[in-house]
């Protein structure tokens, strides 16, 4: 570890002992969240999410193709993330590395396992022709907590996606509906991420907090208050009490974030 993170670590932990954080938040408080939808004309759906200084743009493209042999009655979802060097002095160009792949997979799991997209309604000819949904996450400005920003961006972009049936008219079989229609969706779970620094649990870490974090935990909760996905990261550990604290914080924050998401996607 170089000297700067050590100084920052001292600063952040000293503040935490007084119950404070660098930007004046309390431990389980999120930064301001802004969601803007329909920001890319060429995409079938898109959203730009800001959590504090962190900015993520998610675009949805659709196409027609073959389903996977083991799921002939389902459309195909595919998620990719690019940590473009625009977003941070430490990101480099080239094929996606570990971090980008973990980010894409966590978002993918959140969308896939929660069945938020009704993929069974995306089948045109079972086993032959289905809709493909590509979720592309473009990180624009990295100031921590990409997991929550990317998940939220994916949900917001999907909720505003219009399936471009008219554009693919010629490839659709005779008698199939050729009007554009909104992507069939159900109530999404919301992901909330907390980090642990010494014995403190902080939600929505900014970049400086994330760099020195010992452990990280993401919890996705649904509108019934049930848990739908979890992912622990980094080399530190959590106690059971700490995990329960994160779950409670995820439920409370999730409620607020769900409201923000609804407002942004309902118009």
């Amino acid at each position: 570890m170089t000297i700067v993170p050590i100084i920052k670590r001292d600063y952040i932990t000293n503040l935490a002992e007084q119950g404070k954080r660098m930007d004046g938040r309390i431990f389980d408080q999120y930064r301001k969240i802004e969601i803007q939808t329909k920001v890319v004309n060429k995409a079938e759906g898109s959203a730009r999410v800001k959590i504090g200084n962190t900015q993520v743009l998610v675009g949805i493209k659709m196409g027609l193709g073959e389903p996977f042999p083991d799921t002939p009655n389902m459309g195909v979802l595919s998620t990719a993330a690019e940590l473009v060097p625009l977003a941070s002095p430490d990101f480099e160009s080239g094929p996606p590395r570990e971090d980008a792949i973990e980010l894409a997979r966590v978002v993918d799991r959140g969308v896939r396992e929660s069945k938020v997209v009704d993929v069974e309604k995306l089948v045109i000819t079972p086993g032959e022709l289905v809709w493909l949904v590509f979720i592309d996450i473009h990180v624009l400005d990295y100031d921590g907590n990409l997991f929550d920003a990317a998940s939220l961006g994916a949900l917001a972009a999907l909720s505003t996606t219009i399936v471009p049936a008219k554009r693919f008219e010629e490839q659709l079989p005779e008698g199939h509906k050729k009007e554009d229609f909104p992507l069939p969706m159900s109530e999404p779970p919301i992901s909330c991420t907390a980090v642990k620094i010494n014995d403190f649990v902080l939600f929505d870490a900014c970049f400086d907090e994330e760099v020195i974090a010992d452990a990280r935990l993401t919890v996705a909760t649904d509108h019934n208050g049930d848990i739908r996905a979890m992912q622990k990261g980094l080399s530190g550990s959590f106690t059971k009490e700490e995990i329960q604290k994160v779950i409670k914080g995820a439920l409370d924050n999730g409620k607020e974030i769900r409201k923000t998401l609804k407002e942004a996607t309902s118009s």
């Binding site: 060429k42 675009g59 493209k61 690019e82 473009v84 625009l86 590509f134 592309d136 473009h138």
Partner: protein, 244 residues
């Protein structure tokens, strides 16, 4: 079939209602990203471009360093969702070429001799594409470089002219680019008129070229004023904040 659509009427009216010498609507904002040393967001018609500048910082790997001056590394990248059919992420031959010609154009105006062994990284992300992304990218890069405080001889600016339906026009739109006769992107240093970037594809007579070139330069000067306004706007906002 589509090549028969009339791109321009005999009265000089284009598909989107513009006259031959009209430029699409341009919106520029400086300093939009938190982590970057300098940044710019630019909308040009249906194009949306975001540029970040990092540096000058040490060039790595070290064999890329020049002991006498800084190197300029611009990287033009299109988002997967920025075009009609999804583009596979990552560099392709087209974006590598565009990155190269933009790097070379910027290198001419940056005072690279002040920063031996360093690099200036210019990250150009095309988020929404609709003809003329390289001009939009280079123009935004000019503003982002100023925002980063990189010493420069001038603010580089770009604009394209072209030929559609037999007429020379400014700033080709989407259909005009696809079905037109020629496209001529030009970047200049507006103070001196030096040409920093020039490409042409299609078919032009020498007279038409001269006409199109002059028109593109005229376009550059129009865009240059919008660039300067965006930069002034940012500093005026800061000045107002300081005074409060």
């Amino acid at each position: 079939m589509k090549s028969e659509i009339e791109l321009i009427t005999s009265e000089g009216k284009r598909l989107d209602g513009r006259g031959p010498e009209d430029i699409r609507k341009i919106k520029i904002e400086a300093g939009v990203l938190h982590r970057a040393d300098g940044s710019c967001s630019l909308e040009w018609g249906g194009n949306k471009v975001l540029v970040a500048v990092y540096g000058p910082r040490e060039a790595v790997p070290r064999h890329t360093q020049n002991p006498l001056r800084a190197i300029v590394q611009a990287r033009y990248n299109m988002a997967a969702f920025s075009v009609e059919d999804r583009k596979r992420p990552g560099p392709d031959r087209r974006s590598v070429e565009i990155s190269k010609v933009i790097s070379e154009a910027l290198e001419k105006v940056i005072l690279t001799e002040q920063f031996p062994r360093a690099t200036v990284n210019v990250e150009i992300e095309v988020l929404d594409a609709e003809a003329g992304t390289r001009c939009a990218g280079l123009t935004a890069a000019g503003v982002a470089l100023i925002d980063a405080g990189i010493p420069m001889r001038d603010i580089p600016v770009a604009c394209a002219a072209g030929k559609i339906g037999g007429q020379v026009v400014l700033d080709l739109g989407k259909e005009e680019d696809n079905f037109g006769d020629a496209d001529l992107p030009v970047a200049i240093s507006p103070r001196t008129g030096e040409v920093l970037l020039l490409q042409m594809d299609g078919h032009l007579t020498v007279d038409e070229f001269n006409q199109a070139f002059d028109l593109a330069v005229k376009g550059c000067h129009i865009v240059s004023e919008i660039q300067k306004k965006a930069i002034m706007h940012k500093y005026q906002a800061i000045a107002a904040e300081v005074q409060e």
